[in-house]
């Protein structure tokens, strides 16, 4: 397939479906969105990820039309949407609380938006049936929202917001009210539905796992700004800041002074009396510049002997072991007091585990395992 179809954000010619241009939104003295620019493309599944109060919900409400930007422009398919009221936008929203109409049946909830468009009765019936089928709710059509389960309500909310075939579907913490198992199943369902309908989805979530699972691109937000917007794997493997590295998954941060070595390699002086760590970086650092090495626990190998070939090896002792079933995370304390997490897959039974508390161990990793970050 053409690369620009899979990753339109890499194509400078591609026209975005949504464009935020220097958008600021303040509520009194509080700035919820701070001079933010962002492009979202057609058929994307875009996730806004961040802690509560980072401005992600405000962005969504501006797209839906419930808030107007204080300054800047939001374009939908090239048109400034500021003067368009929410009831005339080709945008639908799935609310965090689902906001199902309690006095209407599931069928009437889904038909609600279509009736407002004065859709002919026959087409309307067909459309509602199609939505019920898509979300596997056929046998609940006549029930009221309080007569079905939380997971079913979530699907009704999705069906209702998809019924009008919007250009853009906004999902505000759509899976927040579901328990973990149901949430995981629903994530895949959401992805299937997004693929089938070809609708552009923008999802707001504070759950990084959810964002990574469903989204084609993830924007990590903090204090009304987008810190990094990229594909899940790049957000995870090459975060652009300690904030992003720390927000997504587990990470070890080692602070030190960088010194250029051979080629793309840098030597990181991180503590007295220890050899410098070797790390490759595509970004350049000046000699002596303070920087951070971010390295994921699963990329750190734990062993009893010092590995011969390893670019980096440090010794420490096991402080804690977190047994997660499929994985074990070892917390290893280095001589300077720094605790490094190392993760191993439990391919063998736990009784045959090689290390236990207080054992002296070696941690090692390659020069390309981590990322050097300036801040």
């Amino acid at each position: 397939m053409d690369a620009s179809l899979l990753a339109p954000w890499e194509d400078p010619q591609a026209q975005p479906l949504i464009r935020f241009k220097n958008v600021t939104k303040s509520f009194g003295a509080f700035t919820a969105i701070d001079d933010l620019s962002l492009d979202i493309f057609e058929k994307e599944f875009f996730a806004l990820l961040g802690p509560s109060g980072c401005g992600k919900t405000t962005m969504m409400r501006m797209l839906a039309g419930f808030e107007a930007p204080s300054s800047g422009v939001i374009e939908l398919a090239g048109q400034d949407i500021a003067p368009v009221p929410p009831n005339q936008r080709a945008v639908n929203m799935m609310f965090q609380s689902y906001a199902l109409f309690p006095h209407l049946s599931i069928w009437d909830n889904i038909a609600f938006g279509l009736k407002r468009d004065k859709m002919p009765k026959h087409d309307l019936q067909e459309r509602v049936e199609a939505m019920l089928k898509l979300t596997r709710l056929e046998q609940f059509a006549r029930r009221k929202p309080h007569q079905i389960s939380g997971g079913q309500r979530q699907r009704v909310a999705l069906a209702r917001s998809l019924a009008k075939a919007p250009k853009l579907l906004l999902l505000d913490e759509p899976l927040g009210a579901l328990d973990k198992k149901l949430r995981q199943d629903t994530q895949f369902e959401l992805m299937d539905i997004q693929e089938t309908t070809g609708t552009t989805f923008v999802i707001v979530t504070h759950d990084q796992e959810e964002a990574m699972t469903v989204a084609s691109r993830v924007a990590v937000m903090d204090h009304g700004r987008i810190i990094q917007a990229d594909t899940p794997d790049r957000i995870y493997e090459t975060p652009n800041s300690v904030y992003v590295a720390d927000f997504i998954g587990d990470v070890n941060i080692i602070q030190g002074q960088a010194n250029p070595g051979e080629g793309e390699g840098y030597r990181l002086f991180w503590t007295e009396g220890q050899p410098p760590l070797i790390a490759n970086s595509t970004k350049s650092f000046s000699a002596g510049q303070t920087c951070h090495l971010a390295i994921r626990p699963e990329k750190v190998t734990i062993s009893a002997e010092r590995p011969e070939e390893a670019a980096n090896a440090v010794q420490g002792k096991v402080l804690d072991i977190a047994y997660l079933g499929n994985l074990s995370t070892y917390h290893v304390e280095l001589p300077n007091g720094l605790v490094i997490k190392a993760q191993t897959a439990n391919t063998r039974r736990i009784s045959r585990r090689s290390f236990t508390w207080e054992d002296p161990v070696w941690l090692s990793w390659t020069a390309t395992a981590g990322v050097l970050l300036a801040n």
């Binding site: 039309g65 609310f95 109409f101 407002r116």
Partner: protein, 311 residues
């Protein structure tokens, strides 16, 4: 054996406890409603007499079985037949129903916007607004109705104000007309309309309105399709809370109404105290109660349905 006894003792104790819990409301109902009602019903089946008490027969238990038989033989439906023969009564019933219905509608028209504004007001104001709605209850109802006489009379505050502004040339006659009765009922029962509607609107999730707008409704449409149906239980509850007492209202029509104001509460009062015809007055009361049973049952059903919907 001792263990079994103790167990049995606990079961008996539990049964006793339950019995008392249920017995209290039933005892309340028996003493304060059922017994007085039976007495009124009995009087309504009696004949009037110049005596103390002013009706006959009275139960004479000292005469034994014959006395009881004589007592029951003296009861008849004569008074109820009388209610159908004199057109005063059914006219008064109809007029009461009419006035109560119109007053309820007026109270609803006035109360709904107030409740809506209260529910939409900033969180920190709501307690104060609620207080203002309830505040009139702190003064005696009778005093407030008398105050309205001062406001509505020929030389009252309202006429003075209108004359001063220049809207009217000569004072309006409001007091002692049906209009004054409507004003009095709407004023008195407005809080009973506002509070249940406010409770329903307050519970309404704001995101429902946003969802309606998101799906293509204008503000007005969203109000009509979402807010109105969801506040209906409150509207129904409020309407019954106004309609039921307004139907039997006696103080307001006798103080604010005129000689042309015909309400069954007033008729009842006159039968009792002016005519001293207790049996006919009791018959009027029994029929009034029967008329009220219908809306009360409907009201209860509404409340029950609402509770079920919330579960």
């Amino acid at each position: 054996m001792a263990v079994l006894d103790r167990h049995r003792g606990r079961v008996v104790g539990e049964l006793m406890r339950r019995f008392f819990l249920i017995a209290i409301p039933y005892a309340w109902l028996l003493v304060l409603f059922l017994i007085p009602f039976v007495i009124v019903l009995k009087i309504s089946l009696s004949d009037t007499e110049l005596a103390i008490p002013p009706y006959t027969p009275t139960l004479d238990l000292s005469a034994g079985w014959a006395g009881i038989r004589e007592f029951f033989a003296g009861l008849d439906l004569e008074n109820f037949v009388w209610l159908t023969e004199d057109d005063l009564y059914w006219k008064a019933y109809l007029s009461s129903l009419w006035i109560a219905t119109i007053s309820t509608l007026l109270t609803l028209l006035l109360g709904y916007p107030i409740a809506y504004a209260m529910a939409r007001s900033p969180e920190q104001w709501r307690a104060t607004l609620m207080m203002l709605v309830i505040l009139p209850f702190w003064t005696s109802f009778l005093i407030r109705v008398y105050a309205w006489m001062g406001i509505l009379s020929q030389e009252g505050f309202l006429n003075q104000l209108l004359l001063w502004i220049g809207i009217i040339d000569s004072p309006l006659t409001i007091l002692n007309t049906n209009s004054a009765v409507y004003i009095g009922i709407v004023y008195t029962y407005l809080p009973f309309m506002i509070l249940p509607i406010y409770a329903a609107l307050d519970r309404l999730d704001g995101s429902l309105i946003e969802a309606a707008e998101d799906l293509g409704c204008s503000r007005l449409m969203a109000f009509w399709l979402v807010t109105m149906p969801l506040s209906r239980p409150g509207v129904i509850a409020g309407s019954f809370l106004v309609f039921i007492p307004a139907l039997g209202e006696f103080v307001i029509p006798s103080l604010l109404g005129g000689s042309g104001t015909l309400m069954i509460g007033k008729v009842l009062w006159e039968e009792f105290f002016s005519n001293r015809d207790w049996p006919v007055a009791s018959a009027v009361a029994v029929v009034l109660l029967l008329i009220l049973v219908i809306p009360i049952v409907l009201f209860q059903r509404n409340q029950q349905k609402q509770q079920e919907a919330e579960q």
